[in-house]
Symmetry: C2
Subunit: 101 residues, 2 copies
């Protein structure tokens, strides 16, 4: 099983993850991405969904037109793990290719 990161490890990882922060009230990390339109927002989601499915590690996310709010945590571990950090990093990479950094 993948291990829950300590608060220190989580903060160190977040420091290198542009746009992500800890969520209030639960052990998770979050970022809201804002694209140009629905086409780009859903394009981002489609690419991120393939990454998530391949990793068998899935986001909680909400889409309203051009925005995508993402929350990541690892249910089985009760907190944030390297799986969340890896998925966050992959999402940033996809967003960057769409011009969102």
């Amino acid at each position: 099983m993948v291990e829950r990161l300590s608060a220190e490890a989580r903060q160190a990882a977040l420091a290198e993850l542009s746009g992500w922060s800890e969520t209030a009230g639960r052990e998770a990390i979050a970022r809201t991405f804002t694209f140009r339109d629905f086409n780009e927002a859903f394009g981002f989601m489609s690419r991120a969904a393939l990454v998530a499915e391949k990793k068998d590690h899935h986001p909680e996310w909400k889409n309203v037109y051009k925005t995508v709010e993402v929350v990541l945590s690892t249910h089985d571990a009760g907190g944030v793990t390297r799986l969340d950090i890896e998925l966050a990093r992959a999402m940033n990479g996809i967003a960057r290719q769409l011009g969102v950094s």
Copy 2:
């Protein structure tokens, strides 16, 4: 511009829309779809996204693993319009093909 439905027209439309109901606190309709897994949930979203984009009328939706919570309303009209009813009906059709009725 597309017209906001009256409360009566909204309720009449909802009566024929399996699984949909009015949301509390705002003029909108909502349904939570539960699929077998992420693959089916995101498959549903992908097909619904194409319909939404074609109609230029988009949902608010949240996906957590195998569930998709959808809220529909027409911002410009300040309430529910035929666009929402049509999109809800299309979503039900897609879900039905995935075995969710």
